[in-house]
């Protein structure tokens, strides 16, 4: 894989994990129950930890550092899939996204674990060990809400976005896993205005003191 394609792939992954981790952390303090609050916040932190590890690999490739990649780019330079940037402050949609994202992430991680890129395959295996718990959590919730119309509608609404997390050749596998028919995907590469709002908040501290060491 040429260097820039590898860096781009790493940024796709890292941006997905950072932005979803950020979105999920918006539930901290207000999740439906205290126990879920703790669990959901912990999962959000894990995703941001995965993002950091991926940014570090990309940074080595691009001659920069993880913080600069995470915070110093303009909103339209982020590579994240539209699924992760949506501002969903409704539990049915939030769980539908977590469930669909975890299923898509599994397809993607399985492919990365089998990659010839030893460094990336190793990191994917490490990330996958934590994702096991995220999947447990997502499947448990999806199982419980499966018969709720609000949840089913949310899954259907987010389905084109979920397909956009994966490369086209991986989408049939995702459709098989979640039992839905493939449709036109909401592709990576353009952003909603919701990302710019998130970016403003996410980078505020960093921008308040450019070049500071934390």
């Amino acid at each position: 894989m040429p260097g820039n394609a590898r860096a781009q792939l790493l940024l796709d992954l890292a941006d997905d994990e950072l932005i979803l981790g950020w979105r999920d952390s918006e539930w901290t303090g207000i999740a439906p129950t205290l126990e879920e609050d703790v669990a959901f916040s912990s999962i959000a932190q894990n995703e941001i930890g995965h993002a950091r590890a991926l940014y570090e690999l990309a940074a080595a490739e691009l001659g920069t550092n993880a913080d600069a990649l995470a915070f110093d780019r303009e909103p339209d330079e982020y590579r994240c899939a539209p699924l992760v940037e949506l501002h969903l402050m409704d539990w049915a949609h939030t769980i539908a996204r977590r469930y669909l994202y975890e299923e898509a992430d599994r397809v993607r991680l399985d492919a990365l674990k089998a990659s010839d890129d030893v460094e990336l395959a190793g990191l994917a295996a490490k990330i996958d060990r934590e994702e096991t718990y995220h999947r447990l959590h997502a499947e448990m919730w999806a199982g419980r809400l499966r018969d709720e119309p609000r949840f089913r509608d949310a899954v259907e609404e987010l389905w084109p976005y979920a397909l956009g997390v994966l490369a086209p050749e991986q989408r049939a596998e995702l459709a098989r896993r979640v039992g839905l028919e493939p449709v036109d995907a909401k592709e990576r590469g353009s952003h909603t205005s919701e990302l710019a709002e998130l970016w403003n908040e996410m980078t505020e501290v960093r921008r308040s003191a450019p070049g500071a060491t934390w």
């Binding site: 129950t33 205290l34 126990e35 879920e36 703790v38 669990a39 912990s42 718990y133 447990l136 959590h137 448990m140 199982g143 419980r144």
Partner: protein, 92 residues
Amino acid sequence: MIFEVFRQEKKGQPFTHAGSVVAPDAAFADAWAREQYGRRGESEALWLVPRDAVHQVTEWADEFDLKYRRVDGYSIKERLRIARERAGTASS
């Protein structure tokens, strides 16, 4: 349902009561307890027990003065030393 959570810090140590989680079933209790009592590597193992499964004892009959049953001030050390010598298992 309320699940009482018992936590073992290291292999071989006794489980001690850590707290509780309120969860609709065992699968949720499992996921939530992992995050609350194990995500920082602070536990070797957890026991999750539905509170209803706990047989609690709180009533004590203490009608007579049974202080003579206590062993306060009674030293077993010397007896133990002699018994060990007799059995040939003295620990020095």
